[in-house]
């Protein structure tokens, strides 16, 4: 067979088998700050004109975030749904274990076995709330809802003599965290998007990031102690009226709902006097940020929300079953 004939034969086969190809829109990968003047990662999450969620997001924010940081998040060592940090948590490479903030669906807090150490007079010296192993997940009993569902920011707003429990809000991951990075601890927004306040609370980021813990009583972070005395101020940007100083348990606040309150405020000066780290009366000493697996007994499970409704999630993000957090300090 001549060369040209052979060529024609091959071309005939090729043409007969060929079909036009389609085109595809390219996209981008994980968010990373510092992409220069022509960043190509914006489109991973945003659409300028065809967004499907607030902030011009291409998709529901929770699904976007959990693609890397959820149970199916094979692009990160932080699984905030399971409350698990895999080996290498944080880019500096931390140990695997339970996430300090708990988890949204599961948590690894051994909520039933606190181990307080006391002096002979019963004063608390130190305590341990053990973390469970990463294969011992327990379903959460309460968690901050980040699915954009409507909920009440309990205590939001100024002191009120009428029954103002707090405004209705919807939360997602980006309500508290800035996905683009901002130099703050845990990329916390200086003002949560739903807070309604105007004063920023900045907590500088830690150089060494530790996301996991073996002891849930040690709520402080020795790599960023500023977190310890600023965190209540940060939390109460939303839960405004829950910020209460020393003596608030016996002083009428004038608020119809949040009248007598446990102390949550802790100043830098007070912190400096009491260092080294130990239990402090701030928000995170008793509560976790994401979700807890603590369970409530007959009395504790009947405690209502400030609006009088007894909900399903009566563990209120507490670190221990029932009122274990009260007993650990007060030893009654």
């Amino acid at each position: 067979m001549r060369k040209s004939a052979r060529f024609a034969f091959v071309v005939g086969c090729v043409v007969s088998l060929s079909i036009g190809v389609g085109t595809a829109a390219a996209d981008n990968g994980p968010h990373v700050k510092g992409q220069g003047l022509t960043p190509d990662t914006c489109a991973a999450c945003h659409r300028a004109h065809t967004g499907k969620a607030p902030y011009n997001l291409k998709e529901n924010q929770e699904a976007l975030c959990f693609t890397c940081h959820g149970t199916t998040g094979t692009g990160s060592n932080l699984d905030v749904q399971d409350g698990v940090g895999y080996s290498g948590t944080g880019r500096s490479g931390g140990a695997a274990g339970a996430l300090r903030g708990g988890g949204f669906k599961y948590a690894l807090i051994n909520t039933s076995e606190p181990k307080p150490v006391r002096t002979e007079t019963g004063k608390l010296v130190e305590a341990t709330i053990p973390a469970l192993g990463t294969s011992e997940l327990k379903e959460t009993t309460s968690a901050h809802s980040v699915d954009e569902s409507s909920q009440i920011a309990w205590g939001n707003g100024p002191i009120s003599s009428t029954s103002e429990m707090g405004k209705s809000i919807s939360l997602t991951c980006g309500s508290c965290h800035d996905p683009h990075g901002n130099g703050n601890y845990r990329i916390l927004r200086p003002i949560p998007t739903e807070a309604g306040t105007k004063t920023e609370v900045k907590i500088p980021d830690a150089t060494t990031k530790v996301y996991t813990t073996t002891n849930y009583w040690a709520s402080w972070d020795t790599n960023q102690m500023e977190f310890e005395y600023k965190v209540s101020e940060w939390c109460t940007q939303c839960h405004t009226r829950l910020l209460a100083g020393s003596g608030s348990g016996n002083a009428n606040s004038g608020d119809a709902t949040y009248t007598y309150r446990h102390r949550t405020s802790y100043t830098k000066e007070e912190w400096e006097k009491s260092a080294p780290p130990k239990a402090k009366p701030n928000c995170i000493q008793c509560h976790v940020a994401h979700g807890t697996d603590a369970t409530m007994g007959a009395n504790a499970s009947q405690v209502a929300y400030p609006n009088g409704v007894v909900g399903k999630e009566t563990s209120f993000l507490l670190r221990l079953d029932n009122r274990g957090v009260c007993q650990t300090c007060h030893n009654k």
Partner: protein, 358 residues
């Protein structure tokens, strides 16, 4: 009846005769007159037409024999969506048995196990380790040994690879050593032509992420691929028949391509151009096609492999797109291709496995 041996001999004779005739034709080629040139053009056109007809006949025969459209050898066609498999909560990984009669899908939410389907999409069983409830494990990727048909499943929570027999019996857990200390954290799985089990290890910091090759049914480490810091959460793996390795280097937004010696020879990169990648996770090879699941792009991108690993694969096109309709994805992740060319893609947020065909 003609035996297979006799048929082969006859075909060989024909090929030999054709070869001899071709060589003689070339040696005795005379100078052409106009009439001869016309005859030659007609002959060329006729042969071209015969080529077209022959190709069509071959396609018809193959379709009739296989019952499913095969992958064409010419890189120009994209598959079409044919059906979905439902009943899996947040599916992540997928694999097909060598015979194509079983489809294994990892379920990362709910019961957190591996669901086994027949080729028609009917569930015929589940795979799970001997102990622990649903919360104790997190199956992610799955691969089937082409030699033993044993099923290997990476479990991120348990930092293990669970191994099941072809009948679904739990056999053992593999826990390869980590690159620095402790255990590896296995993610993507694939088998090489020599039978070695390739796995991506995302344990430790980025500096420790790597590809590990296991031998002896996964019991011993043979070698490590990739230098320190080369990968950033490598997910899926694919190994072609020559031992060339394709790694979905997910957070780096690329597919890193290695020759059989483990040397990085090329990469399909991240970007905004056609064929550029965003967040590649699942990856598969069939024939001269490379399929890459681009999770945040909500598509599967298809490339033509040239047979030379150093030559960058050519982008052909993509299929899918964002949505909940037929053939649309919401965060696709894993991909597997059966012998019959049927393509399975896990559609995570739509809680289904999509089936595509040529």
């Amino acid at each position: 009846m003609t035996t297979e041996k006799e048929s082969s001999a006859a075909v060989a004779d024909l090929l030999h005769d054709a070869g001899e005739a071709g060589r003689a034709d070339a040696a005795d080629q005379p100078r052409l007159t106009d009439a001869a040139r016309k005859r030659r053009r007609r002959k060329i056109a006729a042969l071209g037409g015969i080529g077209v007809a022959l190709a069509i006949v071959i396609l018809i025969i193959i379709r009739a024999l296989s019952g499913s459209n095969p992958l064409p050898s010419i890189p120009s066609e994209l598959p079409h969506h044919v059906s979905d498999i439902y009943g899996v909560n947040q599916p992540m990984g997928v694999a097909v048995s060598p015979s194509g009669d079983r489809v294994y899908v990892t379920e990362s939410e709910g019961s957190r196990l591996v669901r086994v389907f027949d080729s028609s999409g009917h569930q015929i069983g589940t795979l799970q380790p001997n102990s622990g409830n649903g919360s104790f494990r997190l199956p992610v990727y799955v691969a089937v040994s082409p030699k033993t048909e044993e099923v290997f499943v990476s479990d991120r929570l348990r930092e293990a690879i669970d191994v099941y027999s072809p009948s679904g019996k739990y056999l053992r857990a593999l826990r390869p050593p980590g690159s620095s200390s402790g255990k590896a954290n296995p993610l993507g799985l694939a088998f090489g032509p020599e039978g070695g089990l390739y796995m991506t290890d995302v344990g430790g910091s980025r500096q420790n992420h790597r590809v590990l090759v296991l031998g002896g049914s996964g019991s011993k480490s043979l070698r490590t691929i990739g230098s320190r810091g080369m990968f950033w959460f490598p997910n899926g793996l694919a190994v072609d028949g020559k031992g060339d390795l394709y790694v979905a280097d997910s957070n780096d937004g690329r597919v890193a391509i290695f020759n059989p010696a483990g040397k990085l020879v090329s990469a399909i990169a991240r970007g905004v151009g056609e064929g550029d990648l965003a967040l590649p996770r699942g990856i598969a090879i069939s024939g001269d096609r490379l399929f890459v699941v681009d999770t945040t792009a909500q598509t599967v991108k298809v490339f033509h492999l040239h047979g030379n690993v150093a030559e960058l694969p050519t982008y052909i096109g993509s299929f899918g797109g964002e949505g909940i309709g037929n053939g649309q994805f919401r965060y696709p992740n894993g991909i597997a291709i059966g012998r019959n060319g049927r393509i399975y893609v896990t559609d995570r947020q739509n809680a289904r496995v999509q089936v595509w065909e040529y």
